[in-house]
């Protein structure tokens, strides 16, 4: 197992290196002068001399390959450069915003799993009955509703019927967990719904498939109770494809995180990203893409490890 983990970790390094290269050249070679945009955002019409001196200060006048080498060696030491807007290290800026985003993501994921596993199992066990149709309709809703719009709707409903809006500010997980939960519950529900819907569909179809397996028939023939068969045999076997889906769909979840932060005015990675875009703060943009990609890759690695740990049939190569 340990050898498998290490080899998978090593194998993801070239991919991340490739992402870094792609993003670097996308941002630095494509047309558009970042420094000029940034100075314009500060107000006024910058003179060519000012633009040139700013470029020199930020090290953007060096040959592109030197900048690229700098960027890569920085990555190796977890140094993502400095923000051209605030002058602070990118790592610091991201570390400040990442907790909110991660907390929403984890909350949404837990919520989705808590809903999807039981509902998907029930729909699969009772398939082609009214309860299955009800659960499927619920899942279709999650796939069709754009999460940022759904977030707006639930916020409006909470406001009209309970005169309640999520608290503002940035409560910490350790000082005031209840306030934090109040703040993050709606965004987590908004993006968790879609995630849950996809997992319900996956879980349902694999439960239907597993129910037809020989080992389920054997268990029935042995006279085991239905509840026991479902808990011990059907659910564990159906979880495998569902777990794969968790990793694959995490990419969409990250995207909806960026958008949902805007709806609920959360000061997370998404907000930082949009601010960086409007100020052409390349170092921040690069840094955020790298961090989000690393998170995505790590989640998929964890999914693979979980898969290998749950299913004894999978040979670790």
């Amino acid at each position: 197992m340990i050898r498998y983990v290490i080899s998978r970790l090593l194998l993801s390094i070239p991919t991340l290196l490739g992402v870094a290269t792609l993003i670097f050249f996308m941002l630095n070679v494509l047309p558009g002068d970042a420094v000029e945009t940034m100075l314009r955002a500060e107000g006024g019409n910058p003179t060519p001399e000012l633009v040139a001196s700013e470029r020199a200060r930020l090290g953007l006048d060096r040959p592109i390959l030197v900048q690229y080498g700098d960027f890569l060696s920085g990555l190796a030491t977890f140094d993502l450069g400095t923000s051209s807007w605030t002058g602070k290290p990118v790592v610091e800026e991201i570390a400040l915003r990442l907790p909110v985003t991660l907390q929403v993501a984890v909350l949404a994921m837990l919520l989705a799993l808590a809903i999807a596993i039981p509902l998907g199992t029930i729909a699969g066990v009772y398939h082609e009955t009214w309860i299955d149709y009800a659960i499927r309709s619920f899942a279709i809703g999650g796939i069709a509703l754009p999460s940022f719009w759904f977030g707006m709707l639930i916020a409006l409903v909470m406001l009209w019927y309970f005169n309640w809006l999520p608290p503002l500010g940035s409560p910490s997980l350790f000082d005031d967990p209840l306030r934090l939960l109040q703040q993050l519950a709606l965004p987590a529900i908004a993006i968790g719904y879609r995630y849950a819907a996809i997992l319900i569909r996956m879980m349902r179809s694999s439960v239907i498939e597993v129910m037809h397996e020989d080992f389920v028939r054997t268990a029935r023939a042995k006279g085991l109770r239905a509840g026991h068969i479902i808990r011990r045999h059907v659910i564990p076997n159906s979880l495998l494809p569902t777990i794969t889906m968790i990793g694959l769909e995490f990419a969409l979840l990250i995207g909806s995180l960026v958008v949902i932060e805007q709806v609920f005015s959360l000061n997370g990675i998404g907000r930082l990203f949009l601010d960086a875009v409007s100020r052409s703060d390349l170092a921040i943009i690069q840094g955020i893409v790298m961090v989000l990609t690393v998170i995505f890759v790590v989640v998929n690695l964890l999914v693979d490890f979980a898969y290998a740990a749950i299913d004894p049939r999978i040979k670790l190569a």
Binding site: P14, T15, L16, G18, V19, L22, I23, M26, L27, L30, P31, G32, H127, E128, I140, I143, A144, L145, P146, F148, W149, F150, M152, L153, A155, L156, L159, R201, R204, S205, I208, E209, F250, A251, L252, I254, G255, S256, V258, V259, Q262, V263, F273, L274, V277, I285, I288, V289, L292, T293, F296, V297
Partner: protein, 304 residues
């Protein structure tokens, strides 16, 4: 090849014959949701195509005298804070969404399919390099990739649509289609008809385009339909963030942006109808896509 002379296969073929006659009816019976999706798709294409004839108002005309009015006989879906008619704006917004959604999905799936087949056909170094490149693209979360592209490319209008926006939405689709096309093409490469075409001295392009590509038409159409809904969702999200379609072009995402949420606290129709339009179209394309997949890929689980 299957042995066509064996009994079970031939009876299977025979029983297929009478059912084929009413393909449309059978589709509607087997896949009611897919059929509903198709009806909604056709209806929304017609509605947006004939928007100039149907829309009661100019979608761009401000009328401050009629700002923030509730739905009425005069303004079916109400007006926004500039007094613009929401029904007309939803119709024209549908043009933007469908145009960008369908083109982005088409471009992404076509490039992806060609790269996937090419990768499998040529094999060797080409396959290795393309595969690694696709892996890199797949590692970046889709919305983030689109965001980076639109923010660096800026705008480049052609025939009324932002080409760079379409490309940014299409790029994340390419590796997903390429994967599917490659795996299908790998088994196809060893088929005798490809060998035959090669022996006849046909060029690589001709073999890929005329002999291999038609065989992945099924998965291509399924993915094309499914990715239209993803493309529409991403267009709406980017426009909502202010990085997609810009004013004054009507776009559903844009109609939800800015202070639409604050206005909606007292005038809910401002956010309800554009969002509902997005949801209906995404629903239609996903359901139709699912139905197509069940229809064209008999191996996939019909109950899904």
């Amino acid at each position: 090849m299957r042995n066509v002379f064996s009994a079970p296969v031939s009876t299977e073929l025979l029983s297929e014959l009478p059912r084929r006659r009413s393909a449309v009816l059978r589709f509607a019976m087997d896949e009611p949701l897919g059929a509903l999706g198709l009806v909604v798709i056709v209806a929304s294409v017609l509605l947006t195509l004939f928007a100039p004839l149907i829309a009661p108002y100019d979608p761009l005309a401000n009328d401050y005298g009629a700002a923030v009015q509730a739905p009425s006989a005069l303004h079916w879906l109400g007006t926004d804070s500039f007094g613009r008619d929401i029904f007309s704006r939803v119709l024209y917004g549908g043009r933007t969404a469908l145009l960008i959604g369908v083109t982005a999905s088409f471009i992404g799936c076509t490039i992806g399919a060609l790269l996937g087949i090419g990768s499998a056909y040529f094999g060797g170094w080409m396959d290795l390099i393309l595969e690694r490149f696709m892996e890199i693209l797949l590692a970046i979360p889709i919305t983030v990739l689109a965001l980076v592209l639109v923010s660096t490319l800026g705008r480049d209008m052609m025939l009324g649509i932002d080409v760079n926006l379409v490309f940014a939405i299409a790029l994340p689709i390419i590796p997903k289609m390429a994967r599917v096309a490659r795996s299908q093409a790998l088994s196809m490469r060893r088929m005798s008809y490809v060998d035959a075409a090669r022996t006849l001295g046909f060029g690589h392009f001709r073999i890929i385009a005329l002999h291999m590509a038609p065989n992945i038409f099924g998965p291509y159409i399924v993915m094309l339909t499914a990715f239209v809904s993803q493309a529409i969702l991403i267009e709406a999200s980017l426009s909502y963030l202010g990085l997609g379609v810009v004013e004054p072009t009507p776009s559903w995402g844009l109609m939800l942006a800015g202070n639409a949420f604050n206005t909606a606290m007292t005038a809910p129709w401002i956010v309800i109808f554009p969002g509902l339009a997005i949801a209906i179209v995404i629903f239609a394309f996903s359901m139709f896509g699912d139905a197509l997949r069940d229809l064209l890929d008999p191996k996939s689980n019909r109950d899904r």
